[in-house]
Amino acid sequence: MELNLGPQHPATHGVLRIVVTLDGERVVKAVPHLGYLHRGVEKIVEDLEYFQIPPILDRMDYVANLNNELSYVMAVEKLAGLKVPERAEYVRVILLEFNRIMSHFAWFGPFTNDLGLFGTAFLYGLREREYIQRLFERTTGARMHYNYFTYGGLRHDVPDGFVEEASRLANRLPAVIDEFEYMVEENEVFRLRTIGIGPMDGQTALNFGASGPFLRASGIPIDLRKDEPYSVYDRFDFKVCSASGGDCFARYKVRMDEMRESVKIIQQALEQMPDGPVRAKTTRHIKLPKGEVYMRTEHARGEFGAYIVSDGGERPYRLKLRSPSLSNLMASCVLLPGMVLPDLIATVASVDIVLGCTDR
């Protein structure tokens, strides 16, 4: 039997369509179809000036927006030779890690939903995300599409009371993460539907260009924050979380552990954050020297890359955006044949894809 899963299906987390050939409940073949959210971002940006681009990047991975902006602004900074003030780097790190936690919360809720634990964990996840979102709203002025990072630093300084509110939130989070674990980890349904489901070994994941929590759950501890430190990440004490199972449970566990490490980073950054300007002296209409640069950062979902080719003008000649969701989805699709259908849902959900990012 052929089953058309998506593009409008709550369990595909966006407009992913998978044409599944079934034999009874077993998946014989699964062919993913992408492009329902393709907006031609890479073409549109060729007509825009450099300062006009971050708002569009916000709309790619709309769950971890700030992480998208970072790769791009860092690529521009590298080509232009701009030095970012210390304070801006610290604010960036704090917000990026909060953004990562938000993104994992927004994954955790719907993931449990897909497993049949309807309601409770979903709403807990979104509630906690909401608290952080309020901090972002106060800081950047927007709930979702922040447009806060700019080459040379930040658009404006953080509001009064930012440090107090951020540390209050950060101190609260470990207990919240414990509560989440308590909620699902001993749950019979959750264990049955995640442990041993959709396992991927490290070599295959690597060969497919997978990255982020998906790759680390397969036992390969690659984290760009440690391996190729950017911004001020080399000043913080945190560890790279990995798990050996490679299954849905390992992917869940890695994200939970990772959030604790993010909290540690935030706390250290809040302590060390200096005063000073948040933006380097630069003009709005910037012209980049001729050249090319590929800048990659550890996004909530993996390696997010921005490859800028400049012809010396004030618009990028070419801007390629490397999407972690795309590579991770590609890797996970080889797992699908041979599964029963409900496991397909669990596996796709455990990858944590955002279609705005895969389709661009």
Partner: protein, 172 residues
Amino acid sequence: MAENTPPTTKNQTHLLEIERLLKGAHGQSLVATEIKNDELFADVAPVAVPDVMRWLRDDRSCRFDYIRCLCGVDYSDHVTVVYHLFATKTKSKITVRVEVSKESPAIASVTDVWAGADWLERETAEMFGLVFDGHPDPRRLLLTEDNDAMPLRKDFKLDYGNEQSKVKRDNA
């Protein structure tokens, strides 16, 4: 701290070593190499792509086992396919650039070297009108099957607003 990785002599020497080995093994297929901003760039002739790529993955001192990014850039007279590779053990990286002419836009697929090139090649193919020879599943990825527009080529111009303003709502 805008700089990514501070130029370490260790990394520099490793890149020089790779450059030397690459020249030794595939000297005749290399158009040019350069080390800039602590990164290695290699321009490779299109016919040599399968050999060079396999060598980059398998050679003991290279081991570029991870494909980060594959994309095209349209330089009016030709399209350049750019491969960003990463070695997970040594953390070194290399950018390989291959010029493909627009008259015969064919280049060998590297999906058998890195499985991760699969969808990236499909996307590059549809966006630039290239053909990746030997690709196991050369369907379009993001565009619809009947779309031959090659949107990321420079002669494809976006028509802001005008097109939309022409489309009147039929029922209005």
